[in-house]
């Protein structure tokens, strides 16, 4: 029942996203803009551009993810049904799961386009693409779950557009550190032990937020 309700909510959001793809479009444009700005900010004549790839890739995904998070609960809010959606008989869990899944889908699309774009723009190649894809999957999952929680908590808070990144970025520091390190190691194809360590850390982060975030969301939504 919870899963069915989750799927119904997610399908509704996906239909909206297909018919009016503004949010995803803004996320993609913003990601592209970030890559361009980072190129202006970090490229030096005579220095290898490829060395900047891990940082540019992960920070771009972190920044563009926030654009989606800020609009994540907008349909329910603007329709005036947020409280009702949180107070279904199955609790707030279906709403939380569907929003986290939607955010994961959006950031997945953005990553699928940003990764090749960064590699092309910074003239780089990945020797271990599978490892980077695994890190992206783990990292985007953690970002989507924790980000959905923060977005949900801040729905009624003043200045939430400012507060969301202020809260979320320090909390996501482990994901960013691990993602960048895995990508650095994948470029050099060195140290599989170190890579495994970072991936385990990301997986541990994902498990922790997957347990804590829905519970906190339920607690805050229903009292």
């Amino acid at each position: 029942m919870t899963l069915r309700l989750t799927w119904l909510l997610l399908r509704k959001d996906l239909v909206v996203a297909v018919r009016a793809p503004e949010v995803l479009g803004f996320m993609l444009l913003f990601a592209l803009l970030c890559v361009v700005l980072f190129a202006f900010g970090f490229l030096r004549a005579g220095a290898a551009a490829a060395a900047q790839v891990p940082g540019v890739l992960w920070v771009t995904l972190l920044f563009s993810g926030t654009v989606g998070l800020l609009r994540l609960f907008a349909p329910e809010e603007e329709g005036g049904v947020l409280v009702q959606a949180q107070r279904t008989r199955r609790g707030a869990l279906p709403l939380f799961l569907s929003k986290a899944a939607l955010q994961l889908a959006f950031t997945g699309v953005v990553a699928a386009i940003t990764l090749p774009a960064v590699l092309v723009f910074f003239d780089a190649e990945l020797r271990e693409p599978v490892v980077v894809l695994a890190a992206l999957a783990l990292g985007l999952f953690g970002q989507a779950v924790l980000g959905t929680l923060c977005a949900a908590l801040l729905v009624h808070v003043r200045l939430r557009e400012v507060m969301l990144p202020l809260l979320l970025y320090p909390l996501l520091a482990p994901v960013l550190l691990a993602g960048v390190q895995v990508t650095v190691l994948a470029q050099d194809d060195a140290g599989s032990d170190a890579t495994t360590g970072w991936l385990v850390l990301m997986a541990a982060f994902d498990v922790a937020v997957a347990i804590v975030a829905p519970w906190l969301h339920e607690k805050v939504s229903r009292g």
């Binding site: 929680l149 908590l153 003043r158 200045l159 809260l167 320090p170 909390l171 390190q181 922790a208 804590v212």
Partner: protein, 246 residues
């Protein structure tokens, strides 16, 4: 309600505590300046160590206790525990600022640079950022139980995340002086100065937290009085509207 207002007069026990902490601080300053020998290698700048580490203890205790208190308030809403959680996080931020001010003063002399991305520095900076974020959300959240739960949830979330950040920055890089873990302080004078300063700092933290807690309780009382007042105005307006115009 009226209880919260009447106990606002500073009680003698709190004044006694303030006097005690002041005496402890005078003793700590005496011990730091005159009892503890200057460090053989680092010289006089090493003396900032006493304040730095003691402030770090106070920060750690306040923020951990604030996170736990938030969790308790989330599970079993209680006005006093909520006020205590807010007071503890506020005080924790104060001591985090002290740690991040005294740290670079010491680092400049002993490592030759103001800042380095060493695990404990990175962790302290990130924890400060998270704690300030929690404080800001508590201020900006709508008044009432829903807004209060948002602040409590974020403060609860901060503790496990801080642990994961700790693990991540440990892997990421690492030259912090390992004074306490690595054999401890050898000189008895230094040891005395250290523990007296720790006691003084924790006493200060307790006093500041208590004062902040009293202010938090008064703030809650003001919000409740405002709500009472607007409810009364509403009732009056409603009765006036029902009465026929004479």
């Amino acid at each position: 309600m009226t209880g919260a207002v009447t106990h606002s007069r500073t009680p003698t026990t709190l004044l006694a505590a303030v006097a005690g902490v002041t005496a402890l601080w005078l003793a700590a300053l005496y011990a730091i300046v005159l009892v503890a020998q200057p460090d053989a290698i680092l010289g006089i700048v090493q003396k900032v160590f006493y304040v730095h580490v003691a402030a770090a203890f106070a920060m750690l205790i306040c923020l951990s206790a604030g996170s736990v208190a938030s969790l308790v308030d989330l599970l079993q809403p209680n006005d006093r525990i909520d006020a205590a959680a807010r007071a503890l996080v506020d005080t924790g931020v104060l001591f985090a600022l002290a740690v991040l001010t005294t740290g670079p003063l010491w680092a400049r002399k002993s490592w030759g640079m103001w800042w380095t991305w060493e695990p404990r520095l990175t962790l302290t900076l990130l924890v400060l950022l998270i704690a300030v974020g929690v404080l800001a959300v508590r201020t900006l959240a709508p008044p009432g139980p829903a807004g209060r739960r948002v602040g409590a949830a974020l403060a609860t979330l901060a503790a496990p995340t801080a642990y994961l950040i700790h693990v991540a920055v440990q892997r990421w890089g690492g030259t912090h002086p390992q004074v306490i873990q690595g054999g401890g302080i050898q000189s008895p004078g230094m040891r005395l100065a250290f523990w007296v300063t720790v006691a003084a700092m924790l006493g200060l933290a307790a006093v500041v937290t208590t004062l902040r807690y009293r202010v938090a309780r008064l703030e809650d009382a003001v919000v409740a009085l405002r709500l009472d007042l607007s409810a009364r105005d509403l009732r009056r307006a409603r009765t006036a509207a029902r009465e026929p115009v004479s």
